[in-house]
Structures are given as C-alpha cells and as structure tokens.
C-alpha cells in the first residue's frame, strides 16, 4: 500500500524525483555530442545509399528473381516485432495493474514509436519506385495482406504516438511550471504549447485517464493485428516453410521476445547514462528478466511446433528447406537463433545472478541480435527453395547475398531508430514523472497547485 506523505516531505521528494527524471534533458557533454554526431553521420550515409539505390534501381541490391525479399523485409519484420512491446508493457501490463512495469511504459512507447516508424520507412526503401507509393492507397487491392499491413501499421503508429503523448501532458505541465528560464526559450515554448494548459484539475485528469484507457483497449486488437498481418504476408504465400497455420501467434510470440530484449537495452542505457539507478532499479531488471524467460518459453513452444511437425513428415520441398536449415548452409544462423535467442536466455535467466542489470542486458543483447537473424532465416532460405526447380539461370540468381549499399540502408534503419530514441530522451523525461510521484505517495494537489499563480 502506498503511504501518503506529509506535504513537506512530499514537496522535497517531488523536487528530487523531478530533478532526477529531467536529467536526460540537461545532459550536454562531449559524449552526447559525439553520440549525436555518429548517429547523424550514419543516417546521412544511409540516405545517400538510398539515393544511389533510387538512381540505379534495385539491381544494386543482392535481390533477384528468386530471392526477391532479402535483408530489407527481414529488417522490416524485425522492426515490426520490436514495436509490439508497446502493446505488452504500456497496455496489457497497465490494464492488468502490474505496477512494477509502470516506470518502463514510456521506454516501451519510445521503442514502439521508433520501431514502427522505421518499419514503415523500410517498406518504402524496399520499393523500386518509391515515387509511386501513393498508388498503394489509390489503387490498393483490399483483398491483399499488403494493404492490410499498410493500414494497420499506420494505425498502430498513430495510436503509439497518442499513447506516448497523453501521459506526457501532465509531465509537460510540470516542466512548464518548473523550468522557466532554465532551458532555452524555444524549448520552453514547445512544452508550454504541448501541455495544453494542464493544471492538474479533476476534469482535465479525467479526460486524460479516460482517453488513455480507450487507447489501451484499442491498441490490443491493433497490436495483435499488426504482427499477425505481417505474418500473413508470408503465410498467405504458397512456399515451403511459410505454408503454415501457426504463423500469426508464432510471429506475435517472437515479437515479444525481440521487444522485451530491446527495452532492456534502452533501460540499461538510461540507467547508466542518466543516473537513474533508483528508478530503473534491480527489481525492474529482475522482473524484466523473468518476463524475457516467459516470452522465450512461449516462443520456444511455437518454434518446436513450427519445426518438429514438418520435420517429422519431411515432404519433398519442405524437406529440402528444413535440411538446409538444420544441417545445410543456413545451419549456423539457424542454430544461433534457436540456441542464442531462445535456449540460452531461458536457461541462464532462471539464475538470479544473470537477472542483474548488466548480465541481463548482455544476454538480452544476444537475444536481440538472434531475433534479427531469426527474421532473416524466416525470409531468405524459403525463397531460395521454391517448389519449381531452379533451372537455367545465372549463378547469382540462385543464392542471395546482400550487397554493400543494401547493408548500409539496413544499418540506416538502426541508426535512425536510435536517433529517434535519443531525440525523445533529450526532449522528454524517460519515466512518467507524475505517475511515478503519485506512486511514491505524492498527491496531485502538491504537484500542480503549488505553482499555480
């Protein structure tokens, strides 16, 4: 039970919390400048590579007639997967009143926005004629999963932005009240406008609370749809390895693994960089470690289904594909994704020591990398084994290997996502201040009324 604090205590405590949680706005040292420089440089290089690709055509990539979905689509699926963590943490866990997860809901929303925004951009980058992008909307076929995907990703992005913005309004009001003169005038102006004149009165809070609830409910079907529809892009195609009925839940389960691992990375960086040891505390890491074990177990269950059942029958085309995965050319990546991305985190994170912040972050990083390769293993080997025999084509049509511009553009997505995360962290507190303060027994009255003129 939350202990109500006396006004004196509460004020002191609020000052401390506010000071800690706005540190990310103030940090302006060599390292952060260097970090921004690196990110912007890589983004510029990526955009340049994209320009080169638009000029020369998709022929500069390694994609050919057989493997027509390569790194870009793998990357797209990965980013869609990561974005799904917004659904799990800031909606489902909130609705289930899982309190320990409250401080990380904004981190989850940041990750969701960065990931789903980039996912949309990656699709445009995979287009040979991005100037015709609007035709998707103008002449789309509503029976096509691609149209469903475009629709649902756009919807998810908008909901994620709203879910990020709504709980931010009281924080913006706090910053407006407390930071006048301490930050650049323009930044203050932005906070002032975005806070919508919030004064913490009951009517205003009710609107925010009510809207948040509505969105948390809406994001559940949309979030499940975003990854289920992405899986249908594959499952609705007649191909060995994709022709399966469990692809929807299989992708959703995999998405929670990737997203949880990604949020742990971001949490750790914030904890160290913005000195938030007491906020992203050991307990949250411990519980996130347990969450990762849980989602990994669910995903492992789907993986066993996905490979054991066709592996038992070894139908002709399916057999060639699976042999390639288990013992063939793709075996190293395949076993890395299964062991590094599933078995190891499950086994190691059962031990308390490995759920401490640093070991957990490291294990989650391996899981995250494995998650990326998992998408690659879903997309590419299947395309290398069509049902009809591959005959009379040049050697480079048969095997896929990404080219340098392709890798540069793929890396761009990562740097751009990190840039979005950095920008969000520099502009807004990484933990919802008012919610956290309320949880510490500080009443809303004290947070807002005091500064009312």
């Amino acid at each position: 039970m939350i202990q109500k604090k006396s006004p004196e205590e509460a004020r002191k405590s609020l000052d401390l919390i506010f000071h800690d949680l706005t540190r990310s706005l103030r940090v302006k040292d060599e390292l952060s400048r260097f970090w921004l420089f690196i990110l912007i440089m890589f983004c510029i290089v990526g955009v340049w590579a994209w320009g080169y690709q638009i000029k020369e055509g998709l022929g500069i990539t390694g994609m050919r007639d057989y493997v027509s979905w390569g790194m870009y689509i793998s990357n797209f699926v990965f980013f869609v997967a990561v974005s799904l963590i917004g659904l799990l943490i800031s909606s489902i866990m909130h609705l289930l009143k899982i309190h320990w997860a409250q401080p990380i809901s904004r981190v989850a929303e940041q990750v969701a926005i960065a990931a789903v925004g980039l996912a949309g951009l990656i699709i445009v980058m995979d287009m040979g004629r991005p100037d015709r992008f609007l035709n998707v909307f103008l002449h789309g076929r509503f029976a096509s999963p691609i149209i469903w995907d475009v629709t649902v990703i756009t919807t998810y992005l908008v909901i994620s932005l709203l879910l990020f913005y709504l709980p931010l309004i009281p924080d913006l009001a706090l910053m407006r009240d407390r930071l006048k003169g301490k930050i650049p005038e323009i930044q203050y102006k932005i906070y002032d406008i975005l806070s919508l004149g919030y004064r913490g009165n009951a009517q205003q809070f009710k609107i925010i609370y009510h809207s948040l609830r509505t969105l948390m409910l809406l994001i559940i079907p949309v979030g499940l749809a975003i990854h289920t529809v992405t899986s249908w892009l594959f499952a609705a195609t007649l191909r060995p390895g994709w022709d399966t009925t469990i692809f929807g839940p299989y992708f959703v389960a995999g998405a929670f693994v990737a997203g949880t691992a990604a949020v742990i990375q971001v949490m750790y960086v914030y904890r160290v960089r913005y000195k938030l040891k007491n906020y992203f505390n050991d307990e949250i890491f411990d519980r996130m470690g347990k969450t990762l074990v849980f989602v990994c177990l669910v995903y492992l269950y789907f993986n066993i289904n996905e490979f054991l059942v066709p592996g038992y029958k070894m139908k002709t085309a399916e057999g060639i594909h699976l042999t390639e995965l288990f013992t063939g050319k793709s075996a190293p990546i395949f076993w890395f994704t299964q062991i590094g991305g599933l078995v190891l985190p499950i086994l190691l994170l059962l031990i308390r020591y490995f759920r401490k912040p640093f070991p957990l972050t490291f294990i989650a990083l391996v899981t995250l990398v494995a998650s990326w390769f998992k998408r690659y293993i879903i997309v590419v080997p299947t395309l290398e084994h069509p049902f009809l025999p591959v005959q009379n084509v040049p050697e480079h049509f048969v095997h896929y290997s990404p080219t340098n511009p392709e890798i540069t553009i793929t890396l761009f997505a990562f740097f751009a996502a990190l840039l979005i995360l950095t920008a969000l962290a520099k502009l807004f507190p990484v933990i919802t201040i008012w919610e956290y303060a309320e949880h510490q027994g500080i009443e809303k009255k004290i947070m807002f009324n005091e500064y009312e003129n």
Binding site: A143, T151, S211, I320, N392, P394, N453
Partner: protein, 293 residues
Amino acid sequence: MKKTIIIGIAFWLAGLSPAFGADNWPVPEEYNVMDNPVEFNNQNVRAGRDIYDKNCKSCHGDPGNYNALPLVPPPPDAASEIMQANSDGQLYYKITIGRGAMPQFETTLGSDDIWRAITYIRRFDPRNEGKLVEEALRKGKIYALVGNYNSTIDIVAEEELTDNNIPLSNTTIFVRAKKTFGNLLVGSITTDENGRASYAIPQDMKVKSDGQVDFILSLNDDFETVTFSVSGVQVKQPDSNVELPRVLWSTNDRTQIWLLFTYFAALIGGWTVIGYVILQIYKLFRLGRNNKP
C-alpha cells in the same frame, strides 16, 4: 528420393561452376559412330525447328544470332563451330544425357524428335550449304462460313496461281480458338478433292459466359501465312451462371463481400476511436485555454 534430389542439386550446382565446365565432354564410343536416321529434307528441318524452338532456344538462342543466355559454361550457338564440330552421334548423346546446366532430354523427348532437332542444327553446317532447295511458298486462300445451326464450320480453300485459282485438295487446315492469352489449337481437318471441308465444332468446348468463340483458320507452312477468322460463333447458349465465383484473394470487384466489409468495418471502427481520442485532446486544449490564470 530426398537424397536423390539433394545429390541432383549438388551435381547441378557443380555443373554451373566454371572449373567443372571444361570444354571436353567425353562421349562413349558407341554414340560416336551413330548416324542420323532422319532424312535431311525441308519437312524434317521444319519439324526439327519446332522442337528446337520449344526445347533449346530458351538457352541456346536463335541459330546464327549468337544470342544464347550468358550462362557458365556458355551454351554454344547452334550455328557455331563448337556445335557443328560434334558428330551426329555426339550431339545425340549430349542432348539425351545432358550435363550440368544442360538438361537431360531422355525423359522429355522421343529419339525421333531428338534426331529431328539434330537435323535442324545441321542445317547451319557450312557443309550443308545449298543442299536444301527452299521451295517457294505457295499462295493459298481460305473462306469459311458457319453452317448447320452453329455446329460446323464449312471451309473452302483454294490456291492462287498466276492466272487462275484452283481448289486446294488434300490440304490440312488448322482450326484455332481465340483465348485470352493467344490462340489455342482445337483441331485440324483435311480438304476433299474440291478443296472443301466441314469442321465439326466440338460441343464440349470451354466458352465464355456469352457462349461465343472466335475461330481462326490457317494453312500449313508450305503456304504464305494466311488466316481466316470466323468471329462470334455461338457455340453454346449464353449462360449468365458461368460467372466467376468471388474468391478471397481476387481484385476489389471480385473479392468476397464479407472481407471488404470486415476490412472497412475494422478501419472505420479503429479510426473512429482514434478520432474520438483526438477530440478529447482538443477538449483538453479548450479547457486549458479557459483555465488560463
């Protein structure tokens, strides 16, 4: 079975690599001495050309044009010295057995057809220069009418000579039906001594919902290309029930209604809620303005 396929793929890949594709391709002795049993004449060359166009051209290209696919090792042009240096028997062996990217035709072509294809290839051998006297193409003409309550096509064929036209007897007329992607050969008929023939339209033909078919008649290769079309033959009664069914994966006007309904219901439902939340934010904005101290 699985192993065979994998080994097959491995061999095929090996065949693609340049190291394996050295120029010498040993041919067993018994093949070296084989002779082409097919006579070298216009008819066989023409038959061989059809076989070549269907089975070989996609990689080896048009003979003499050197437009083969750029594979490794490169498939030689049929008119090239490399190709012509082979004896008939060697060609027969290589086509039959295949190697690497060169498929094995043993299972797809009969030996007669393979020999005819070889006959066609030999047409480009410089030693055969002038051996075939190309007969001048004859000029023919076809007229046709639909007869007997749309059940037959009555055909009259004649040959145009310099001064007069004579009936074209004992000549094959090909009957094709116009389909969405090209003309489908549905049958052929030989003319009588008066140059007449009556083609019975098959009653089990697949037709569009209006029941009509466009027929195209033509003569064989001995003649200059000549066709005669009989359009809009009412083969069957119009049938409004022969509509294509609506299926899930089709275009917007052919897909199933419930899918469109679900899609738009979800779209409108979701965005209505988003619109509602944005309205709430606007309300918040209004409240904030009124509350201004």
